[in-house]
């Protein structure tokens, strides 16, 4: 956020309306005020854009350009949200499951699948980053895997693993694996030689260097990879729940789409997006807590 440069502050006429309305006491604490203002702007801008979006949506829906099946008005989607979150007319949520439970089931799948993929990714990344031939051996395979859309191998997973939890979790794991493996490999390979040498000069064994220098040094990049991986897993969710996905938020979307139930589809999409935002924010917070030294290179 751009804070007003001090120059313009000095230039502003002391009595002018703009100067008074904008920041009267700025002169005393020229730093604290703009920062608070910037923070408010950070919060207000997304909120404003959301309101604008809702307004445009409403206008578009009532204009009658498209049928209500294609573009239901926001109120309808809100009703659908209430429907799938409560018991109404003896029907419990959507298909006997509340929205929260759909979401919970999906999050559990993501937790298991992405968790597995991330663990393997870190392991492979460490190995590939430290041992040259392991990298040569696996890197093409991982790149190959990375470029495949999850749908491409989902059919294969169903043939191999059936239609229950196994193919879904495997798909999420396969989707989450490459980003972590690639970022960890790169980070491990880029560990500053000055630091590994410093550790060796202190008497560190090879294993000591990996544990005390390589791993913490690669951690910021690995965490970025993990954030990417969770994002990829999230975007593969609907694909993973295409077959026998109920309960599950992706399954709900797929099922509702079969019945042209656009409001529920939208509720599902919004639920996936919002929970994704929340999880990313949590991961970002985790990252800040775990790697406070990020960006602070040791001279």
């Amino acid at each position: 956020m751009s804070t007003t440069p001090p120059l313009s502050e000095a230039e502003a006429e002391p009595g002018s309306a703009a100067a008074v309305a904008d920041r009267p006491p700025v002169r005393r604490r020229p730093r604290a005020r703009p920062r608070a203002g910037a923070r408010a702007r950070h919060a207000l801008l997304p909120l404003g854009s959301l309101l604008l979006f809702l307004a445009l949506w409403q206008v578009l829906a009532v204009s009658g350009t498209w049928s209500e099946t294609l573009v239901p008005p926001p109120a309808k989607v809100w009703d659908a949200f209430l429907d799938v979150s409560t018991t109404h007319d003896g029907v419990r949520g959507y298909n006997g499951t509340y929205l929260v439970e759909h979401l919970g089931t999906s999050l559990r799948r993501i937790g298991l699948g992405a968790g597995l993929g991330i663990a393997l990714g870190v392991l492979f990344g460490l190995l590939m980053g430290t041992v040259g031939w392991v990298r040569s051996l696996f890197e093409p395979w991982i790149t190959f895997l990375r470029t495949l859309p999850p749908l491409a191998y989902f059919s294969l997973l169903i043939i191999w693993l059936g239609i229950n939890e196994e193919p879904k979790i495997t798909l999420l794991a396969v989707a989450a694996f490459p980003p972590v493996a690639v970022s960890t490999t790169t980070a491990v390979a880029a560990v500053p030689r000055s630091l590994t040498e410093a550790a060796r000069a202190l008497g560190a064994s090879r294993w000591d260097v990996v544990r005390d220098v390589v791993v913490p040094s690669a951690l910021p990049e690995t965490l970025t990879g993990i954030r990417l991986a969770v994002g990829v897993a999230y975007s593969s969710l609907v694909a993973a729940e295409l077959v026998n996905g109920l309960p599950g938020i992706g399954g709900m979307v797929k099922d509702a789409a079969n019945y042209n139930n656009t409001p529920v589809v939208l509720v599902g999409i919004i639920a996936i997006g919002v929970s994704g935002l929340v999880i990313d924010a949590l991961l970002l917070r985790l990252e800040r807590a775990v790697v406070p030294w990020r960006g602070r290179t040791s001279p």
Partner: protein, 327 residues
């Protein structure tokens, strides 16, 4: 930062007034059971000897190599040459160099930048093998981590660890039993004048303090040899002088063999008990000069720097460096 500045300021008065005495008293306080008389620096040092609470040799401690029959840190270079690259790209960096550094000597390698003095130090540290000739430390080929403690041009601290964490790592690698870490940590921090910074992140402290931590870290293993590669080049003049005082003091206290690389004639004369000037690349010995300036406890660093003898030597070395670089 403000506390670090206060700290640095406190150290300024070291040799002239009470600040220095209390500093010395603190160093001693860590290592002895009772409080020391608040006497002059020399007295407290004499009472204490080398700042070390234990006897130099402890049978239960494998990493205390400075006992009488332990490795002594003597360095021996025989016809050492080192080249970088291969084939037509080969660049001779150093040599041939023949050099003997007896135990306890403070050798300073001086030369213009690019003359191969850092390479020579890396060979002594065991980070690289010479392409010709042999390097021996304490009678054996050098091994990183066991034959020498190293302070680099930059601190090279681990940013994910605090000051304390950095020292703990060094103590662990040195094989010091965990129970003795707090005591040794306090001792090391006191020796480099960094008491009270244990919990700070290494990026929160000043460059001078970082280099002090690096020095403390290099001292943790108590290797018989200490190697320093232009460790103060990036620091401001005032901080540099203070750290020079400290290094001189540490070397005098511990009696450790030290090899110090610098391009500054001033630094070389102040620190060294012997100065070797290297020619330009590939570096060979141009001048080998013993320095007879007083060493050990009670030497006033500022008086020494102002003495006629010091300045005469400094001029001599500066001339030698210049002509060696031009030759």
């Amino acid at each position: 930062m403000s506390s670090s500045e206060a700290h640095e300021t406190r150290r300024t008065g070291k040799t002239s007034e009470a600040g220095g005495v209390s500093e010395a008293g603190k160093v001693s306080g860590v290592t002895t059971s009772g409080p020391l008389p608040n006497g002059v620096e020399a007295t407290s040092q004499a009472a204490n000897g080398p700042v070390r609470p234990e006897s130099p040799v402890r049978p239960d401690d494998p990493v205390r190599p400075d006992g009488p029959v332990r490795p002594d840190g003597a360095v021996q270079l025989d016809d050492v040459r080192h080249e970088y690259g291969r084939g037509r790209e080969t660049v001779a960096a150093v040599g041939p160099v023949d050099l003997r550094v007896p135990a306890g000597e403070f050798l300073v390698l001086v030369g213009a930048s690019g003359c191969g003095k850092s390479t020579l130090l890396r060979l002594i540290a065991g980070f690289e093998q010479p392409t010709h000739g042999s390097v021996r430390v304490s009678g054996a080929p050098p091994r990183p981590g066991t034959s020498a403690g190293v302070v680099f041009q930059t601190p090279r601290l681990f940013p994910w660890r605090t000051v304390r964490g950095n020292l703990d790592l060094a103590l662990r690698y040195a094989g010091v039993p965990r129970a003795r870490w707090p005591e040794r940590r306090a001792e090391l921090l006191a020796r480099v004048g960094l008491e009270g910074t244990e919990r700070r992140h290494v990026w929160e402290i000043s460059g001078g303090q970082q280099q002090r931590v690096a020095l403390a870290r290099a001292l943790a293993a108590e290797n018989p040899l200490l190697l320093l590669d232009e460790p103060f080049a990036a620091l401001d003049a005032l901080t540099r002088e203070r750290l020079q005082d400290d290094v001189r003091e540490v070397a005098a206290q511990t009696g450790r063999t030290t090899v110090f690389v610098t391009h500054s004639a001033d630094e070389a004369v102040f620190l060294g008990s012997r100065i070797v000037v290297l020619t330009r690349s590939p570096g060979t010995v141009a001048l080998d000069l013993p320095i007879g300036l007083p060493r050990g406890g009670g030497v006033d660093a500022d008086q020494l720097r102002e003495s006629a003898e010091f300045n005469a030597l400094r001029t001599e070395v500066a001339h030698a460096v210049k002509s060696a670089a031009a030759a």
